[in-house]
């Protein structure tokens, strides 16, 4: 694009500039620092030319032209700041204000309204319009979206973002002329959509507002904290708007972060779980069969004493640890260190939602083969096996859609469901559920038990893929163990550099695996069997490591091999579908749970320790593509403690204090010693997402079935956190079958 023969020279306000041919004049002006005001133009969406705010003077053209629709021509001489242009803008504003109410004092947009800013700049405060204004009462489109007709300036950004970028098409345009208005898709005047709030955020005025923020406060009254979203594994950056230690909404107006302006309903509105009334605020200790409030000293003392006693009496192999998909890298690392060096057990696992270990094994030594989330939107070809990104990975689905829409990328899908992304796909091969591994074999041309017709389709898919280059392969939890290596084997013969993304469910699923919350792997997927690596980690941690691989999650849960189980930030009773009884977990003498809420597992525990959420602590998360981001504490956790602190205090109470005093210290140790995590601190501190690529060089052991599975959350659920989010629980689409969306 930037080659000289493809660039166009023009003059904007007396300054000669060079821009790629095909650039819109409005973007060319922007590149000189002259922002041309616009309402209907929005980068990445189709052109509308509805608002006429972007009028500029072009020499030798008799009338003012809309800069948002004119493509630059060589030798163009453009003026954006003449009195004539200013007058035109003022007059356009007067038009926009003919029906606009004088609502600024009560309008949610006041203080961050593009119309307000424009009127302030160009002035059209005096209205010559004396006729009565069109009025209609405010409408509630959905539990999330409100529409205030008189404030709408008919820029149709909302309609286009929902149609083109979200591919939901829930908003339309009704009536005509002065009565034109935005209408939702249900006949009764309500919305059935993904409730992403994109339309609310993109609306330049206060016509679309959200239930959560509506009439609560003002933009200048809040603190803004940009931090990775606490929900799915995509790691969007959400700027939390906080007042009085309460999250009022999230957005990403400054477009920093890997997600640009995109956020789904969870990143935007589901921060409300943090102040749910059922949030645990103090430790609970079981006395006389009842969980009763206790002090931190008492609870930690109890845990340390009993855990130590059990370890001594029945050996460290009878103690197990289940880590979390939502705790920070530092916390996971500290847990791995605590379990392995202080307790001396390898019984350490977590709910694996993607087989990251198998991918790391299959790619050993080739970090470039991990694709970042942004690579997806620039991809030329994408192969998706399993998973439903629209629900489980809304950002990646958004990126896939934009790759298809803006660059004509080719999407190929192998799935057991007719997922929504089929609308973007060149080819969807529907396979029976659970046959993903067989489908991969069929791609190899090996005989399988799938029907001949499907095999034929897969052969066509293979032929098409062989014509693509630089394919990005995404796969869900359906593909695990040796199927991952088979998939990598197949796709690596494709032309160009094939890159991969394993799709894991929650905010730090990838981090949990990377930090070694696995029974047979040390941090960075280093094999426990390898004496040399074991020695390296023994030196780093200054303690001997047990060399026998530990029990995995399924063996720990109800395998009757454990006397004590320590669960951090997960709810195995529900995720593993166990009966809600203590017996179902095995003959445990001690069950300790760190949680935000009294989950099914926490109810069975002897000690429940209230933990801080991701919005209440520092640390780092690694998203499912392997991009590390730093958390920024948005809320004061009050009496609850971070998992990091709890583990550290426990190590003190145990009598073997872990030397890592802060999560910064832990991260430094991770940077030094976990292969592939030597990321730039400066970039992290600046809030960027930094790619990491843990490579152990150790081939993957095969993963037994039943260990890697997705919780298959929808857009409106998010494990335990989702159950305590009023926003997620309020939407009616939650109960609709997925195929409706």
């Amino acid at each position: 694009m930037s080659e000289t023969q493809n660039s166009v020279q023009l003059t904007v306000d007396g300054r000669a500039i060079d821009v790629p041919s095909g650039t819109l004049l409005i973007e060319a002006c922007k590149s000189t620092g002259h922002e041309v005001p616009s309402f209907c133009y929005y980068p990445g969406l189709s052109l509308q030319a509805a608002c006429r705010m972007c009028l500029v003077e072009i020499e030798k053209t008799p009338k003012l032209q809309t800069a948002c629709t004119v493509v630059v021509q060589p030798g163009m001489i453009v003026r954006t700041e003449t009195p004539q242009v200013a007058e035109a803008r003022k007059n356009m504003l007067e038009f926009l204000l003919t029906n606009h109410p004088l609502d600024c004092p009560v309008c949610d947009k006041g203080g961050e309204c593009e119309l307000q800013d424009m009127v302030f700049r160009y002035g059209a405060a005096e209205s010559r319009f004396v006729e009565e204004k069109e009025h209609q009462p405010e409408q509630q489109f959905s539990p999330i979206v409100y529409f205030d007709y008189p404030r709408c300036i008919l820029c149709f950004r909302c309609v286009r973002v929902c149609d083109e970028a979200m591919d939901v098409k829930a908003l339309g345009i009704g009536q005509r002329g002065v009565r034109t208005l935005i209408i939702p898709n249900r006949p009764d005047g309500t919305l059935e959509c993904e409730e992403c709030g994109m339309c609310i955020d993109i609306c330049p005025v206060g016509a679309l507002t959200s239930h959560q923020y509506r009439y609560k406060t003002r933009p200048w009254e809040m603190n803004y904290v940009g931090t990775p979203c606490a929900h799915c594994g995509d790691g969007c950056k959400t700027t939390l708007n906080v007042r009085n230690n309460q999250i009022l909404r999230g957005n990403n107006r400054d477009m920093t972060g890997i997600n640009g302006e995109f956020l789904c309903i969870k990143g935007r509105y589901a921060g409300d779980f943090t102040h749910h009334p059922e949030r645990l605020r103090q430790p609970l200790l079981r006395r006389n069969g009842q969980l009763q409030p206790a002090s931190w000293e008492e609870a930690l003392g109890f845990v340390a004493q009993h855990l130590k006693e059990i370890t001594k009496r029945s050996g460290p192999r009878t103690v197990g640890f289940l880590g979390s998909n939502r705790t920070t890298n530092e916390e996971n690392y500290l847990l791995a260190r605590f379990a392995r060096t202080v307790v001396g057990t390898n019984n350490l696992d977590h709910h694996r939602t993607a087989d990251f270990a198998a991918l790391a094994g299959a790619l050993h030594g080739e970090p470039v083969r991990y694709a970042a989330s942004g690579d997806l939107s620039r991809a030329s070809a994408i192969l998706l096996v399993g998973n439903d990104p629209t629900h489980n990975h809304p950002l990646l689905a958004w990126n896939i859609r934009s790759a298809v829409r803006q660059h004509g990328a080719h999407l190929y899908i192998i799935n057991s469901r007719r997922i929504k992304l089929r609308r973007q796909a060149r080819q969807l091969v529907e396979i029976p559920s659970g046959k993903e591994a067989a489908a991969i074999e069929a791609l190899h041309g090996a005989p399988t038990d799938i029907s001949a017709a499907t095999q034929q389709e897969l052969a066509t898919l293979r032929a098409a893929l062989e014509k693509e280059s630089d394919v990005i392969v995404l796969f869900g939890a359906e593909v695990f163990g040796s199927a991952v290596s088979r998939l990598v084997e197949f796709s690596r013969q494709l032309p160009g550099v094939t890159r991969y993304i394993a799709l894991g469910d929650y905010a730090n699923s990838r981090g949990a695996a990377d930090m070694g919350l696995l029974p047979d792997r040390l941090p960075g997927y280093a094999s426990l069997k390898d004496a040399l690596t074991r020695k390296k980690w023994e030196q780093v941690w200054g303690a001997a490591l047990p060399s026998e691989p530990g029990l995995h999650a399924k063996q720990m849960l109800g395998g009757n091999q454990l006397r004590a189980l320590y669960v951090i930030g997960s709810n195995p009773v529900r995720t593993f579908g166990l009966p809600q009884t203590r017996e179902a977990l095995g003959e445990l003498e001690l069950l300790v749970v760190h949680e935000l809420f009294l989950t099914e597992t926490a109810r069975l525990a002897d000690v429940v320790l209230p933990a801080a959420s991701a919005y209440e602590k520092d640390g780092t998360f690694t998203n499912t593509c392997g991009e590390v981001q730093r958390l920024k504490r948005a809320l004061d956790p009050g009496a609850v403690r971070t998992d990091f602190e709890i583990i550290r205090l426990l190590s003190y109470a145990w009598g073997t204090p872990l030397p890592l005093r802060s999560s910064e210290a832990a991260f430094e140790e991770i940077r030094q010693h976990v292969r592939g995590y030597r990321v730039s601190q400066a970039q992290l501190v600046a809030g960027q997402a930094v790619r990491c690529a843990p490579t152990s060089g150790h081939a993957a052991a095969d993963t037994p079935p039943g260990l890697v599975f997705s919780a298959d959350d929808s857009l409106f659920t998010s494990g335990t956190l989702g159950r305590y989010s009023a926003a997620l629980n309020s939407v009616s689409e939650r109960d609709l079958p997925r195929s409706r969306l």
Binding site: C104, P105, V106, G110, E138, R214, Y215, K216, T217, R218, W220, E221, N244
Partner: protein, 155 residues
């Protein structure tokens, strides 16, 4: 000798001059305020403790726009906004102030808030008796600032 006479005359003159002020003032209207025995009189534009007004229907005029809080140079105004609903209507507009506090240990009575208010909801009243032994009492809540309802609610 003449010096004695002159001195006497000068004394008499000075006394007369001095007492003439006393005498004149004796017949002028009194300006001394007998506070606290008698109520204090104020100039109309005296800036005392704020009053949050009601409109002609008895609804609160404040729409919780936060502009007074934004204008306040010492940031002593704290507001929480909420939605008027069909069942409970507090103000005439869409929103109202569910919490409205002014911290008089910080307020400098500059009147900027009054100037900022788009609905004339807040003005300075003539209250000034703010002294207290407990600084927490200096935070006045909406209930303390709000003008009385027009009519007592029917029972």
């Amino acid at each position: 000798m003449p010096s004695i006479l002159k001195e006497a005359a000068e004394t008499a003159f000075t006394l007369a001059k001095g007492f003439s002020v006393t005498l004149r003032t004796l017949f002028r209207p009194t300006v001394t305020e007998n506070y606290p025995d008698e109520p204090v009189r104020f100039e109309a534009r005296y800036r005392g403790i704020h009053v949050l007004h009601r409109d002609e229907n008895g609804l609160e005029k404040c729409v919780a726009c936060f502009l007074c809080a934004a204008a306040c140079p010492v940031q002593c105004i704290y507001i929480e906004a909420a939605d008027n609903t069909a069942e409970t209507r507090i103000s005439a507009s869409e929103r109202y102030a569910s919490v409205y506090n002014i911290d008089y240990s910080r307020c400098i009575f500059c009147g900027y808030c009054v100037e900022a208010c788009p609905t004339d909801a807040i003005t300075h009243g003539h209250g000034f008796e703010l002294a207290t032994y407990n600084i927490a009492d200096m935070v006045y809540r909406k209930e303390d600032l709000l003008a009385q309802p027009l009519k007592p609610p029917r029972t």
